[in-house]
Amino acid sequence: MKWFKPLLAVLICAPGFALAQIQDSVFKDYKTFERFVDREAKSRDIATLLSILGGRDELTSEQIRNIEGQFLALYPEDFENVVVFNRKDLGNGITQEARAYWIGLRYVYFYFMLHQRDDELVVLRFSFNSLPDKMLKEF
């Protein structure tokens, strides 16, 4: 049946391969990371999210603009709410986390794999999707 909305799925791995630099996706601590992600996600600043969370290495600025355009078409309003709906501690400072942002009945889902080092937090992997099934399977 074809009436459900098209999916939007974006996956970013950071730092990725040898040439990538991780400094883009490093935060002072979890609170700083959370504040940044919630602010940019709620205001739908997808270009900033993609650039800071490693997309700069993987996507051209045109691709980033395209993804943001699709996102804004699918989500015409800023999000009002956020919750973490899944989190798993993998040990040694590595965690997986899934966040839902919504306004009214419109939801988007963000997935992060995070590494808490001695004095900084690294985002190892970042993705978002208009359905959460794929990211729930990662847990």
Binding site: M1, W3, F4, L7, R87, L105
Partner: protein, 145 residues
């Protein structure tokens, strides 16, 4: 087990972002305890009668199928499942954080099974349906966990 068990593997349906709000009485405000259990009860009763279109119409949705699409869905379901279902059971359930849960519910009769997948988010005691999918193949839905 009967060897006449049929699987209609071609039948699958996915709906996204179907918020489940006031259920039965559209003219009345939502019951203060329009809980998951009440929603389940009504949905089960409709699906047992193979009234999938009506089960979907229970939900408010961003992109709700229209009447013709719902009728078409029932026609297709009834072609694959000639008899009403007699039994229902929760097969798999996983509670996530902050009101999110995933479930698979089985409906069956003597010869056939239908599986329904739900992803729900409860906000202010109101269950919303964020993803909804049907299949005759349990493993396709099980793979969503």
């Amino acid at each position: 087990m009967s060897n006449s068990v049929l699987t209609a593997a071609t039948f699958a349906l996915a709906l996204s972002a179907l918020p489940l709000s006031a259920l039965a009485q559209e003219t009345k405000p939502p019951l203060p305890r329009a809980t998951y259990n009440e929603a389940r009860e009504q949905m089960d009763s409709l699906i047992l009668q193979r009234r999938l279109g009506d089960a979907i119409a229970m939900f408010k949705a961003l992109e709700q199928p229209d009447e013709a699409e719902r009728a078409d869905l029932d026609t297709r379901l009834r072609a694959l499942y000639p008899d009403d279902f007699t039994d229902v059971a929760l097969v798999r359930s996983e509670i996530h954080k902050n009101g999110f849960r995933q479930e698979i519910i089985a409906y069956w009769n003597e010869s056939q099974y239908l599986y329904v997948y739900l992803l729900m988010h409860t906000v202010d005691n109101q269950p919303r349906l964020l993803n909804f999918s049907f299949d005759a193949d349990f493993h396709k839905l099980n793979a969503l966990f």
